[in-house]
Symmetry: C2
Subunit: 866 residues, 2 copies
């Protein structure tokens, strides 16, 4: 029997029993059995089996249901496919009634204990079986404590609580208009049926969906003899981890609460003890045998599971009972330490170790995080758009941000949404906060690319740039006030919160080395600045998969020349303006080629529509016109002329390169001259890949390619240097994927631009998707946000077409992905299965992609045909 039949907890109990650990006796109704109950089938048989099970329990324990003297009390616990806390509750202290509570009272010699058990059962039963609100019972308890003038419920002694028990029963009976059942078998059966019903209810199904569990997954039910930690003598409850959850060190960690049952530990009403405390009060000092049994139990479990484990246990009058075991919670640092230790100890292979770590969890090791203990005053929540934490002054303007950072200030750039104009501000800011936009909005993409923390779409916040305030219902912050953003959780916090810097340990480096050995696909980075390229190299990038040239056109004086170009009336004037940009662009490329020495550098030619380089209608047209020495009216006219209804689908990419071949020429020349210079100075020709964006038909690529080849010929002649380059295209439109065989005739490589491909395949603008995509995923209309995890069924099919057809057109076609998905582990798995040659992602995703690619290779059963 496995987890599918027994559920998570059921399997743990069987495992522990097998290892000889003390587990309270009991039996499990399997998933199959619970399904039959749900369907109302074989009821008589199941009931008979339960009776038989109870008979065996009586044999083992010497106690029986309803036996006044030797009372068998039960715990009925759901056993789910994975631990899903909060989904279904256990019912404890079953089956007590007005009669047996007296027996328990008498034979335990503690009426207060017996009645507390009975009340807990009534409350439990009311909640789980009748669906009542537990708060009503908590209120009764509070009222009672108040009436008596007690400080806490612990003061209820002897028969003092009898009346409270009566009130609990009345509450249940009044609310549910029925008598609280006294028949013990009826109590048990109702509880079992209630758990089955609860599991098949809409709330639990939603819960499963949220946790990514198959919503049709089954439930098993555990019926177990109760063991009582809530006794004053040598009793209590606790949990223990086999290794340190923060560091992964081989030190047993946990806590122990005297005189308590499991839920009391969760409620934290009293101070717990450590397991061991160098002589101070601890489990070890108070009940050394239980501590020893716990320690050896964890060792055995680790050996069986070959993993660090957490256990829940109860000590009942000195005897330890193991109640549950699961994989230990751990930080990523601890997780890596644990697998590294286990590999060193020969307990697992490198491959197993690689498969044990969630690639996304590596992010914890790459960014600043909020200090674990720091006080958090959360004032708003947005999307966790780019990980990392940062504090700084609220600043609404990119230029102002630059000035302040120049003065040594820390700044959070706060904008409704960012535009390419803001990039200089993002560059200097410690973090970015936007009130609009989704996970793939401009701000999010740029911030991730730069490794800056970003919280996007914090829609409860309203920016009033006029009076320099940031408002939300209940408070108003001013420009200059300090906030902290946590791009890993999406939280916005008031004031400065302490931040912890990342540190890459030796084990981490070793671990990534194993990943590099294991993976088939290369991992490149999306980077356009030397700064980013260097970070990515340090993180192990094997080249640049996407260098977006447009960002290069915004820096410094280039934007002025770019605007001159756009406003020019003739090709000659445009060429003159472009000639001013050429040398700076060439220098940028030289830097990238130098950093990526010998590795491929894929440069995408200018992609955005020209109006993105002009001010918007509401911007400072007069000031910019003055800079350009032109009439503001002329500038306004050109802005209006270039305005587009749907810029995403407009005059951009290859369409622009064909309309203004001089732009193509200038960029090609900058690339080739840079390549020639670096070849000359380093003695080694860089590998330049030139990517033409937004191609939908071969003719487009063919025409641009001709110009590129022409320029390459010119530069070869002029410099006498050999220039190695490839020309390829981004596959980012459905038609390009469909016509890939044709297009591949003119493309030496394809790079899947899955952001735009997702936009066009779904007909969803990622900038505008925030209004509905959250609701879509919440309602399960979309399983996942397709901008975060590649839509394998739709967009993925187009990619498969493009791969297959592209290779028909050109068998040695080189294939990669450069969309945001290139850093998403599930999407990387799809890339592996599709037979891509590389993935490319933002610098801070490179280590994640290295691991994800390794896992994909290890798990991949669909072997690409190559």
């Amino acid at each position: 029997m496995d987890v599918k039949a027994l559920g998570h907890k059921g399997l743990a109990l069987c495992d522990m029993t097998k290892l000889g650990l003390a587990v309270p006796p009991g039996f499990i109704l399997t998933v199959e059995c619970a399904k039959a109950i749900a369907a109302g089938q074989a009821t008589a048989t199941i009931k008979a089996e339960i009776i038989a099970g109870l008979g065996r329990l009586t044999e083992e324990t010497g106690c029986a249901l309803g036996d006044y003297k030797h009372l068998l009390l039960l715990a009925v616990r759901p056993s789910m496919p994975i631990a899903l806390p909060g989904t279904l509750e256990a019912v404890l202290n079953l089956v007590l009634n007005d009669e047996t509570v007296e027996g328990l009272s008498k034979y335990s010699g503690d009426p207060a204990f017996a009645h507390a058990c009975y009340r807990r059962f009534i409350q439990n039963y009311a909640h789980v079986v009748m669906g009542d609100d537990p708060a009503a019972f908590e209120d009764l308890l509070s009222l009672f404590v108040e009436e008596r003038g007690y400080v806490s419920a612990a003061e209820i002694k002897g028969s003092d609580g009898y009346e409270l028990t009566a009130r609990f029963k009345s509450q249940l009976e009044a609310h549910d208009q029925q008598v609280f059942p006294q028949d013990v078998h009826e109590q048990l059966w109702s509880t079992i049926v209630a758990l089955v019903r609860g599991w098949n209810g809409p709330r639990a199904k939603t819960h499963r969906k949220i946790h990514g569990v198959d919503s049709d997954a089954g439930l098993a039910i555990i019926v177990q003899a109760m063991v009582f930690g809530n006794q004053p003598e040598n009793s209590g409850t606790g949990h223990a981890a086999s290794r340190h959850p923060q560091t992964g060190d081989v030190i047993m960690q946990g806590e122990y609460l005297v005189d308590a049952q499991g839920p009391d530990l969760v409620a934290r009403m009293r101070q717990s003890l450590p397991l061991s405390n160098g002589g101070g009060a601890s489990l070890q000092s108070t009940i050394p045998e239980a501590y020893a049994a716990l320690h050896s139990g964890l060792k055995k479990l680790e050996a069986l599971k070959r993993d660090a484990v957490d256990v829940d246990f109860t000590v009942s009058q000195g005897q330890i009972w193991f109640l549950d075991a699961k994989p230990a919670r751990r930080t990523t640092a601890a997780a890596i330490k644990i697998v590294a230790d286990m590999v060193r100890q020969g307990l697992m292979t490198e491959a197993e170790a690689l498969l044990r770590i969630d690639p996304l969890s590596l992010d914890q090791l790459l960014h600043s995080t909020l200090a674990p203990g720091a006080r958090r005053d959360v004032i708003a929540a947005g999307l966790p758009a780019s990980p990392g934490a940062a504090s700084g002054m609220i600043i609404f303007d990119a230029d102002e941000a630059r000035v302040l950072v120049g003065q040594g200030q820390h700044v959070i750039l706060v904008r409704p949404e960012t535009s390419p104009e803001d990039i200089k501000g993002v560059h200097v800011a410690d973090g970015v906060l936007t009130t609009r936009g989704g996970m793939t909005s401009h701000a999010a993409v740029i911030a991730r690319g730069m490794g800056k923390p970003c919280v996007a779409g914090a829609s409860s916040l309203k920016i009033d740039a006029n009076d320099g305030t940031l408002k939300a219902p209940g408070f108003t912050l001013k420009k200059g006030d300090v906030i902290t953003i946590d791009g890993s959780s999406g939280q916005v916090l008031k004031g400065e919160v302490a931040v912890v810097k990342p540190s890459l340990s030796g084990d981490f480096a070793m671990f990534l080395g194993w990943a590099d050995k294991a993976r088939r696909m290369k991992v490149r980075t999306n980077a356009e600045t030397p700064h980013d390229a260097r970070i990515a190299r340090d993180f192990g990038a094997e080249g640049i998969g996407l260098s977006r040239t447009e960002h290069m056109f915004f820096e410094g004086d280039r934007i002025i020349a770019m605007r001159e170009m756009i406003l020019a009336d003739s090709e000659r004037d445009r060429r003159a303006a472009l000639a001013k940009i050429l040398p700076v662009l060439r220098a940028d490329f030289e830097a990238l080629f130098a950093i990526m020495a010998g590795l491929p550098v894929c440069i995408r030619l200018l992609d955005p529509p020209l109006h993105e380089f002009l001010p918007s209608v509401t911007d400072d047209v007069v000031g910019i016109a003055k800079d350009l020495k032109i009439d503001p009216a002329a500038l306004r006219r050109r802005v209006a002329e270039l305005r587009e209804q749907n810029p995403m689908l407009g005059h951009r990419g290859v369409r622009l390169l064909l309309s203004y071949p001089e732009i193509t020429d200038m960029q090609a020349r900058a690339i080739f001259e840079a390549a020639a210079n670096v070849a000359k100075s380093s003695g080694k020709a860089p590998i330049a890949e030139i990517m033409v964006p937004l191609v939908s038909a071969r003719g487009e690529l063919e025409a641009v390619r001709k110009r590129i080849d022409m320029v390459a010929g010119d530069v070869r002649k002029e410099t006498g240097q050999a220039i190695t380059y490839l020309v390829g295209t981004m596959i980012e439109l459905p038609r390009a994927a469909l016509k890939a065989q044709d297009i591949a005739k003119d493309a030496e490589f394809f790079s899947f631009g899955t952001n735009d491909l997702t936009q066009t395949t779904y007909g969803i603008s990622r900038d505008d998707s925030a209004r509905f995509i959250g609701e879509y995923t919440a309602r399960g209309i979309f399983q996942r946000d397709p901008f975060i995890s590649l839509d394998v069924e739709g967009v993925g099919e187009l990619i498969s077409f493009a791969v297959e057809r592209g290779r028909l057109g050109r068998p040695d076609l080189h294939l990669g992905i450069c969309g945001e998905h290139g850093g998403d582990p599930d999407s990387i798995a799809f890339c592996e299965a599709s037979g891509l040659d590389y993935v490319s992602c933002s610098p801070f995703r490179v280590p994640i992609a290295r691991l994800a690619a390794a896992q994909a290779t290890l798990k991949n059963i669909i072997k690409p045909i190559r």
Copy 2:
């Protein structure tokens, strides 16, 4: 041998020879032969064949090349795959030289004639063989006539022209730096090689591409004995059509020019004679035998070709010679009369008749046209966006247009581009002119839908709404000035131009009846107003394929209620606002159901994003806020809030229906209540098809469908009426096509929204495409504008997927197309081959679609599996 081997003219000559018509003797160098010449292959063999051909010519004519006494003169003519006037020129009067011109002079007794022939040859040769500009020779002639004090060249008599001949030769020799060849074989060979070279040159290739001829199609060359119409006695040249080109009546039509060669007729330097003139001067009266031979020749040709024919002829000293024959030019009315007559006469079948008429040509019969003889003062050219001609005052504002039309004025609405706000203006205007936007821009689509003439994207015009002017380089028009637009040609004309109203003849109705019998697919219409629905019914529409509800929300006070809904803060307030729209919408649907009695009516639920219903930032926010009784600031805020980067890919369609289920409910209720009312009053339940737009995943449709079914149940209960309806979706996103099998589980029908599917497949916004798509088609990067003719390779493949997968999901899935392509004959052919059940198009396209669908069925060799 067929047209592929002989070319168009060559085949005509062979046909006429076979029919016993007098054709000047000669021979044809076949396409294969010309290809060999182009490749420089088999030159000796070909030259020998030419010598042999000339030998046979000498036998037939008794004349020989260079024979002083019996001079054989040749015409060398290109014979192209179809008649492509202006592509390559014939060379006449070959082969004359300084010696033979004297012989011709002496033996013809007319030195002036002989030298005129020589000069024409020199000029011809210079142009065709040497590539010189003929204007230089025309200038020499003019100068000579001036020097001599003549009125025209006809006064050059006797040896008077010798000097001019010498000047012609000098001009050629000076310009080309070579002696004019005197060797007759060299002259002939050079001419042949020049024609072959010209055909393979870039200019001719472009010409072929423009005319839709395969650019690799071959050329044949005709070498024929000259016959001279340019002699004073019983000689001349002319052309004749076997039926009247305007009406199609069986009356020979044409003209005849005395003492002339073919080009003179084209040049129209003198008045020509009619062929027959009831006793007045005509070919019949002057050379009755030639007239009779012409008449009988045309009869024979018609019988052979089973079509009306045009012939070119020359009369040389009383003897008629047939030089060429081609299908007669004709208006659409004439074309239909001709095939109707031929079917009546048993000369062709109905199917053949249907295949003879270009569906698009029917448009001539459905719209007003500029009067043929009217003076045209063209001031600008745009895209022929919606056919028909109209005159009216220039008006820049929709409201102003309504006022003026109310006063009985005729108005042309002139806008940079139109928005849904302008619809009321388009409704009343006689035509629409925009300076931006393409064939599928908002203005174009709306105008076509309403059957109003529209010229779109006349980009040379600049609107200055402030000072109320319409400017272009060279002129300024003011508001109120009258212009005329021709939506069939895209011309904008100054002033009022006479217009001819359409008239549908009996033959036209009969002809469309044949089409209806022949076609497999149904033809529906896209219509939302009763007016349009009625036009479409009259044109033979078999239901409504697309009724866009959004247009219904703009009329009258509905827009106010719609805005209230958008500005409401709660679902309750939104429902209250929608309740005001419900009754008017229901009345609209009742009208449509009544008009389409018993035919299906497919209604698309609200599609555009909400901001389209609000004023734009620059509009009269204050006035509108006053209408709505709200704070202008609140309106401005909501406008800003709803603004989208890419509305086409934004929060619209099903996304909106899911966010605001109350909108879905209200529309469904209006439809069902209307259906119930019409069912009650007419005793027959209408067939309502409810179409959910912009679906990309089954979950979307599933959720909306549930609400629709719920409302249907409610209305059934409330009214006690049976309601027949289908729920389906538009396939307009690539993902919907890919996931069609899944989606079909919740869709009873698919309608292909090929406008949006083309936009997303190509990633091109049709509103923004005007900037580059013209250049793309001109350069051949795109073969055709994919918004006009369906892109069969890309978009078409997605449609094929959707058809195949959709029917896997639901075998009885009903399939149609409702994009603009539904009215395009080539696209209709694709729909037939894809096995769609119907096409739907704008009312004025319905007759075109009926014919195109019939042709598609007749031509379809790919049988759909049904």
